[in-house]
């Protein structure tokens, strides 16, 4: 029975619950028409964001995908700003212009929610290049899905990063499906971690449902990269319990497979581990539920009350205003 530090354990559980409840509320708000457009929920993959994200400092750069609610929450952007963005309000973290797929937070070097599959990888490589050229001990975390490994940009980016020994971590959240296409139906080599061998990039696969396994593997990799070892690839083997986006009929997978993976729900499993380690009480759970519930209700009220961006600002920020040039 490995012992778990109670405070840290409760922190991890709290943040996984926080993402889960936030995403459940998003599903409800989407069905009520408050959230529109595309909505890709992170339910089932919480352990990856909660395990990996804290290993990066606020000086490091984060590039993520359209399934980035969890990453933004853990990175620290206030839930209020995320909910307001989902409502399309001017108080949103992108002033209502990005929506669910495009969360941004310059103060936390969170370079988005980028929604073109594979589109974020070259940008992450560039961010790492800038750090190397300016001799800064910073790293760049690049999250992407198993779908992105089919894009040319994945191979170009790994090659360039390895060639120039750039401080970037390629963090692949392999949830076994590229929208409706199972991994084995779009990849000749389904062991994604081994793809890094082609570019002489150290890599490993990790159980993406085990938050502590994610945490330790990522921490080790970040230290290596920060010391200048060049890029590192981690494949988190995880699974999404919900449709690719709201809503699809999930014709591409069986109910049995979904319920099988739900046996390894990252939150339920970790809850058991904490209980077995004697560091979790019923009271703790209630506290987490009510704290998370209050934060979500507050975020929803903040989003409801938020103003729409005035139409006069429609074309604001297409270009940088003159006075801002140094």
């Amino acid at each position: 029975m490995t012992d778990i530090d109670r405070t840290h354990g409760l922190w991890l559980l709290h943040h996984m619950m926080r993402i889960r409840r936030f995403e459940e509320k998003c599903a409800e708000l989407y069905s009520l028409g408050k959230i529109r457009g595309f909505l890709h929920l992170y339910i089932g993959e919480e352990a990856v964001a909660v395990g990996a994200m804290p290993t990066f400092t606020l000086d490091d750069a984060i590039v993520a995908t359209y399934r980035e609610h969890g990453h933004s929450l853990v990175r620290g952007t206030p839930m209020r700003r995320l909910m307001a963005e989902l409502y399309g309000k001017a108080t949103g973290c992108a002033r209502g212009r990005g929506g669910s797929m495009h969360f941004f937070d310059a103060s936390r070097r969170f370079y988005g929610g980028l929604a073109i599959v594979g589109g974020g990888l070259p940008v992450a490589v560039g961010l790492a290049l800038a750090d190397k050229l300016q001799n800064r001990p910073r790293v760049t975390a690049c999250f992407f899905g198993d779908g992105a490994v089919a894009e040319g940009e994945f191979h170009e980016s790994l090659n360039l990063a390895a060639l120039w020994k750039l401080p970037v971590l390629f963090l692949c959240e392999n949830n076994l499906y590229a929208m409706g296409t199972a991994l084995q139906r779009h990849q000749s080599q389904t062991d994604i971690a081994r793809k890094a061998d082609a570019y002489a990039i150290p890599a490993e696969a990790v159980d993406g449902m085990d938050v502590r396994a994610v945490e330790s593997a990522t921490k080790k990799a970040v230290d290596l990269v920060r010391q200048g070892g060049g890029p590192y690839l981690i494949e988190y083997r995880t699974y999404r319990f919900r449709a690719h986006s709201m809503y699809d009929a999930e014709l591409y997978r069986s109910k049995q497979e979904v319920s099988q993976w739900k046996q390894r729900d990252p939150i339920a499993m970790f809850e058991r581990q904490l209980r077995e380690a004697g560091v979790l009480s019923e009271g703790d759970l209630q506290t987490i539920e009510s704290t998370v519930g209050d934060e979500i209700a507050d975020a929803e009220a903040f989003a409801e009350a938020g103003m729409w961006e005035p139409l006069e600002d429609l074309t604001k920020d297409v270009y940088t205003p003159a006075k801002q040039t140094d």
Partner: protein
């Protein structure tokens, strides 16, 4: 009590068909549990309940097509709501996408000063220039109502009068000509109704003195010089315009332009092909006999299709009489860019009170359609009363 609504299952969904309920009334349902299956155009989706509680009542029946946001079931909530459970809005808050509805600041109403390009070129659209050539209208005499005073096709059409059976039509076949004439009338009428805020006034005028005087006159006059009642009405209108001049002129661009001369346009029906209203120039200045001659001449040329375009281009007001078609009251449509139209109905015998006695008198209903941008009812009413007064002294017309 919480209502379970048809959820929005996709960005373009407006309704869903209930395939089947997975729960029945009285069942307990947990938050996140599947409660029903719904068909959208794209697929059959299992939908979850967002509340924990006992199902009070299933409202929608399998097979029903339910609009998004409509109530499908009622759930009696129980169990501790986590934190402030936001009160469920009864219907889906389909916030109109406000960002998409542009709220343009009201355009300033100040009329744009007509901008003359440096070589004082005529601001006329190529197609209007071509139409002017076709219809024999000199564009330089036409006031443009387009952007910055530009002359548009409509300006040319209006300047060319409501109908143009002039020789320029000769090329087309009769049917083709008719269609084109109808088209031109249609354009003018549509524009009038669209742009001119009409108001309408009518009054009944005792014509006994006028008709008696007319019969006496025609006895004395050879048949070639006989007068018609219509000519009295036209002259009365012309003279009345001297006292209420604002009704005589045009609406140009954004302002009224009163005309110094009085050219009454007289509506003449061309039987199959519609209506034309050529102008009798300086109507107020001709004695009745002379006016009758010009009136006859204009009607004859209109019918033969040989009207001069100038007779078309500048009636300052139009008079139309439908008495002979058995109509008592005419509420006409103003011919743009004019600002008024006078209508006369049938002359009929009517009981009329004179000094408390009931007598029979020939009367006629005179109406005025006028452009409320230029004049208001007060001035219109005054005009009709002047026409009435003038018709009581036919000899002075």
């Amino acid at each position: 009590m919480a209502e379970f609504l048809m959820p929005i299952l996709g960005s373009d969904m407006t309704e869903g068909k209930l395939v089947e309920w997975k729960k029945k009334a009285g069942d307990r349902v947990k938050k996140g549990e599947i409660i029903a299956e719904v068909d959208t155009e794209k697929a059959t989706i299992e939908i979850e309940s967002f509340q924990t509680g006992i199902i009070e009542q299933l409202i929608a029946k399998p097979g029903d097509t339910v609009p998004v946001g409509a109530v499908m079931a009622v759930i009696r909530e129980e169990g501790k709501p986590s934190g402030l459970l936001p009160e469920v809005q009864p219907q889906v808050h389909l916030e109109p996408d406000r960002a998409a509805k542009p709220t343009r600041p009201a355009a300033p109403l100040t009329p744009p000063a007509p901008r003359m390009s440096e070589s004082a070129r005529l601001r006329i659209s190529p197609s209007a220039r071509q139409l002017a050539a076709e219809l024999g209208v000199d564009p330089s005499t036409v006031q443009g109502t387009g952007a910055d005073g530009a002359i548009t096709r409509q300006d040319i059409e209006a300047a060319a009068g409501p109908v143009l059976p002039s020789s320029a039509e000769a090329a087309g076949t009769a049917i083709d000509r008719q269609a084109r004439i109808r088209q031109t009338i249609a354009a003018a009428m549509a524009r009038s109704k669209r742009e001119i805020p009409h108001y309408y006034l009518s009054t009944t005028i005792d014509l006994s003195r006028a008709m008696t005087w007319l019969t006496e006159q025609n006895l004395k006059r050879p048949v070639t010089d006989r007068l018609l009642s219509g000519v009295l009405l036209i002259k009365a209108v012309a003279l009345a315009l001297r006292e209420v001049p604002e009704l005589n002129g045009f609406w140009k661009g954004h302002a009224a332009a009163q005309s110094p001369d009085i050219h009454v346009g007289v509506a003449v029906s061309l039987r199959q092909t519609g209506l034309v209203a050529p102008a009798i120039h300086h109507t107020d200045k001709h004695p009745l006999g002379d006016l009758m001659k010009r009136f006859q001449e204009v009607v004859k040329r209109a019918r033969a299709g040989t009207l001069r375009s100038s007779e078309f281009s500048d009636p300052t007001i139009t008079v139309t009489s439908l008495g002979e078609q058995g109509v008592e009251t005419v509420f006409g449509v103003i011919y743009p860019p004019q600002v008024a139209l006078v209508g006369f109905g049938k002359i009929v015998e009517r009981p009329w009170v004179v000094d408390g006695q009931m007598v029979a008198r020939p009367v006629i209903t005179a109406t005025l359609s006028a452009d409320h941008r230029v004049t208001d009812g007060h001035r219109g009413g005054l005009f009709l009363s002047v026409v009435d007064r003038l018709l009581q002294e036919p000899g002075a017309l």
